[in-house]
Each structure stands twice: as C-alpha cells, then as structure tokens.
C-alpha cells in the first residue's frame, strides 16, 4: 500500500496538515430552534458522574446528553421525509467509504457578510468552477461563509428577528445542480442547518434537505475552520456515530490538506 505509506510519512513530516472542522460540544452552543409546540432536539448537556471524590475516588467522568442534530453534526438521508425509503439511509447502514471524500470549498464569506440571507445559486458554482475546476463526483461541497466565527455570540450566530432566522444557505437550483449534474456526496455549511435561515419560504421548503436527502446524499452543519481549507485538494473524514437507525449524529470532522 504505497499510498498509505506515503500518507504516513507525509503526516510524520507535517507535510499533511489535519484541520479540525468541529466546534466543541458545549452547553452554551446554540441548538436548532423549532416552534415550541413541536418536538425539540436536545441541546448538549453534561453531568458529572465523579471527579476523584466520594462518587468515584480515583476517576473523573461525565454523562452527556444531546440530540442527533446537536453541535457539528452529520445528516443522513433518513432525516428527511424525501429520503425515508432509500436503502442505506441511516448512519448505521451508510457504507463506510462514504465517510471519506474530497472537499470543494466555495468561499461565500463576502456575500454572507453583506447579506445574511445570501443564497448560493447555480451561477455562483459555475463561475467558481471556471476558476477552480469542476466539482468531482462523490465529493463534499462545503459552503464557506465564516459564519462559524460568530460562535461565541449565540445571538449573532442564530440571528433571529421578528421574521425568524437569517442565515445564508444554498438556493434550489444550486442544490439540484450539485445532485443531478455533479453527483456530490453531500453539502456542508457553517450555520445551524444546511438550508438558509429563511428556507422555509422556498419551494419546496428546506430544499437542501429535500433534494440532498431525497437523492441519498448527506449534510454537515455547524462546521468551522473552513477558512483554513484550500478551494480544492482537501480530504474530509466525517464518520458519524453508529446509531441504530440514526438520522444523524454529532461527530468530529477532520480535513487533511497539504501543508504547502
């Protein structure tokens, strides 16, 4: 296995950098918000079991709780009604090779800074490809918005007003283009969902969930450090917890990139 031997050497020589695309699971990190009469995802919570004390003299450990869609997390096709009957649609049945794939990072940070409701359209992707090359099949497309930099301020991160949430995301034509014409593995964002904050008003509502999962593709949300990745050439490792019929899971998302 020449490739893996070379990879090991490159890692040892720091020629390959490993970038952590994950937020820390912490109780302060905001969770997705739904109307209060609907079922709710748990935020991350942690309770101490013992800390070298009468509850366990020589050891420290915690119990934690959270939803499948808390913090930096993976969305499986079964998460959405459009993907409910697909084969291998839950985190425990997805083939493991799908958890590793190249990343194409589309920088929308300027657009998102100018307009919190920015929608990434097909024309943006086509223009991006002219500069950086065609998005390869079976790869992750990551929408860089620098939204993750707001994480210390949950009010700014969630960005609610009287009309609801205002965060950037993909438009319908972009999602369909990536699925139908680029055959991607999935779509990743820095915001709390793969869809825009106002995507409830699109047709269909939440198009990225609807089309991605309907076509058996995946989602990653609440990513961070996308600004450290090159537009092309990084490799993402994103393996969710193996939850029986799980619709998603918090996970550690890593990107491997060449240091040069």
């Amino acid at each position: 296995m020449k490739v893996l031997t070379e990879l090991a050497s490159a890692l040892a020589a720091s020629e390959i950098r490993v970038v952590d695309l994950t937020h820390t699971l912490a109780p302060e990190f905001p969770q997705i918000t739904l109307p209060p009469e609907l079922g709710q995802a748990w935020p991350f919570r942690v309770e101490e079991v013992s800390r070298y004390d009468e509850r366990g003299p020589a050891w420290y450990w915690n119990n934690f709780s959270c939803g499948e869609h808390t913090g930096t997390h993976f969305d499986a096709p079964i998460h959405w009604v459009s993907g409910k009957d697909l084969p291998n649609n839950s985190v425990d049945t997805i083939q493991p090779e799908r958890f590793v794939g190249p990343a194409f990072v589309i920088d929308c940070s300027k657009e998102a800074a100018a307009d919190a409701d920015f929608l990434l359209k097909k024309e943006h992707i086509v223009a991006w490809e002219k500069k950086h090359g065609r998005v390869a099949p079976r790869s992750w497309v990551l929408m860089r918005t620098d939204w993750s930099k707001k994480w210390r301020d949950p009010v700014a991160f969630q960005n609610y007003d009287e009309e609801g949430q205002h965060t950037p995301g993909p438009d319908i034509d972009a999602v369909k283009f990536l699925v139908e014409e680029r055959d991607i593995l999935g779509f990743g964002t820095e915001t709390i969902g793969t869809d825009a904050g106002q995507a409830y008003h699109l047709r269909p509502p939440y198009p990225c969930h609807y089309y991605m999962h309907g076509a058996g593709r995946y989602g990653l949300q609440c990513l961070t450090n996308l600004d450290q990745l090159p537009p092309t050439g990084a490799m993402v490792v994103a393996a969710p917890l193996k939850i029986l019929q799980g619709s998603g899971s918090p996970l550690r998302v890593l990107a491997l990139m060449e240091s040069r």
Binding site: E37, E47, E48, P154, Y160
Partner: protein
Amino acid sequence: MTTPLQRPRRKNPILRTRQPTAPPATRSRIALGLTAAAARGVFELQVCRDCGTTQYPPREACQNCLSERLFWKPQEGLGELVSETTLHLSYELFFRERTPWRLGMVRLDCGPVLIAHLHGDVPRAPARVKVHACLDKAGQAALFAVPEKETPNMADDKQLREMTCDPKYRKALVTDAKSALGQALVKSLVEAGADLVWAGYAEPWKKFAGFDELKKLPQVALMPLDVTDSKNVRELAAEIGGRVDILVNNAEYHRAYGIANRAGVETARAEMDVNYFGLLRLAQEFAPAMRSRGGDGLSSAVAWVNILSIYALANFPPHGTFSASKAAAHSLAQCLRAEMRPAGVRVLNVYPGPIDDEWNQLLLPPKLAPAALARAVTQALKQGVEDLYPGDLAQEWLARWRDNPKALEREIST
C-alpha cells in the same frame, strides 16, 4: 410610628458573617395545627363543638367541658394588651442576639389570654391590638400583636421583620424573566423595594417581548440562565449566589396533554428537566450560600419561592404530564424546606391555578393574570407565609382537596 428602615450599610466583606440561629422549634403534634394555619397566613385556634369555648394553648380536650370535639377555626385576633415586658436577657441564642425584645399578654375578645411578640407601634398597656399568627425563623407559628389600625412603615418594625421575608433592601433572583409572569415578578419585587433583581433568561437568541423594558429598570440585571444546564447554574451561583437573599424559581416547561394524546416521552422529560431537575440544580448550587447567610443582618438571605401549580395536589389529566412534574417539584420543595429551615430561610411554595398564558390558551377562564400572581407572591413574602394558593380557582381546589382528596381526583378526571 415605626422609623422607616434605612438602607443597610454596605457590608464590610472582611467581617465574619453571623451564623443563623432560630427560636425554639419544638411543638406538640396538636400545636402544629397553629403552624399549619400560619403557613397559609391564617390565625386559627381550636374551638369546642360542644360548649363553644375557644382554646389556647392548643390541647387535646376542651379546657371548659373536657370534650374532645375540638376544631380549628380562623380567628379575627382582636383583643386587648393587658400587660407588657421587654426582654433584655435570654438564654435562647436567637433572642440573646436580638434583645431588647418586646412581649405582652393579650386577652382576645373570644376569651383566651396569650403571650405575643409586640410590634413597636403598640401603645403601652392597656391598648387594643390585633394578633396574627406568623411563622418565625424556626418555621413555627408565633403570635404577633400589632396595633388594631395600621401605622406608617409598620413592616419595618425590627421584630416583625424577623418574621417576614420583606423584599425591601434585599437582592432577588428571578430564574425566568422571559415569561410574562417572570417579568411581572421582577417588576413587583422592584416596586416592593428590592435593591437588585437578577433576571435570568434562557436561549438568549430568542429575544423576548419585554426585554428592552426590563433592561431599562436600574435595579434589574439580566443574566443568561438555563436551569437545564448544570454548568450554567453552577457558574451563576458562583458569581452571585453569595448575595441572593430571595430566589424566585418560576422557570417552567408546560405543554398540554396527558398520556394518551401524545406519543413518546420527550415532552414529559423536558417538563421534568425544567420543573423538577431545574429546581434540584438550583437548590444544590444556590441553597448552601443562602443557608450560610440566614442570619446576615437586616438584609439576610430570607426566602426561596417555588412557583408550583395547584395540579401538584391532584393530577389534571388534560395537562397530565405537567401535573406530574409539578407534583415531583412539590415533593422536592418539601425536602428543600426541611433543609433550609435550620437556617431560617423560608421556602414559599406557590400553587396557582391556570395562569393566563399561551399554554393555557384553550382553558376557559377564570385564569390568573401574571401580574396578579406576581403581586400575590410579593405580598406573601411581606407577610411571611410558606404556602400560597393564589386566586379563586386555587382556593376552590384547595378547599375541595382538604375536604376530600379522593373526591377531587374523581371530579377533575371526568
């Protein structure tokens, strides 16, 4: 008239904090009848069914005819101060630290003669007085005579303030300022003279109506607080816990339905997490410091308020899991009360009927207005009671429950 209470001087933080002490707490089982009524703010004495004699002190058999048919009856408490004395020396630690202390002998119009604590505005004997049953720092009924007619600044009397939980010049924490009730509680405490009110709010990204108005009040400090987050509760207690004199826990999760109309356990779990475990988390983190400050001068830690529900007494099936969570909280609040009592910190449990809020939208009136409930809570603190059943519906349920709990269970489940 009573000299108005002056804002206590700022505490010198390097001085030792006095340990709390309590007056004698032992009572016979029958004498606890006096305490049970005083806990609701009522002065009750036993009356003989056979000869009509009013009894004092509480006893097994009528002092006049030896009948055992005695019942507890609310008293007006009007009478005459026959004689008085001022205590200068006491072997009891509580009074030793508080002398001089005024006491008097009162002959009630209904017959009995009793010893009562005397308000400073009661003139020298003979004088007309009104006797109340208060709860003292030991949580037991104590008889307190005040002037028949109200006098200015009556609540500021040194001896009376030892019986009450007056918010004046005290610092309070209201755990959920997002709800209409929470905002009314904050305002009511400010109006009652609280020096500072910390107003907790969870999920800060969901801005709530009334946020800006609260922020404008100079006595109010908004603090992120989510009672489901142990780390958050622990850190807030570390920051302000040593200064909270009154803690009002109104954080609540409330959804309709019982067992059959809702699938799964997630909503019920959320109700338990806020309504029961939230109280437990707050109690574990805030109660120790409050206990240590139960004797901390004029602005000591004095009260812990739990907004429970009348449904804690008997399950209201249309809101069945909510009722269960409030019953759990009610039970835990009794535990908290037992643990706070030695420190003289009162636990005031509030059992309202349905509040006029969005989660009771489909219930017909009468529903309790948040502002009315908040006023009742503040009034209960000033009075020093430990069980409050505010509003007509709560009073009616309480009467039916005391009369026959089984009948109430059947009535509200059909």
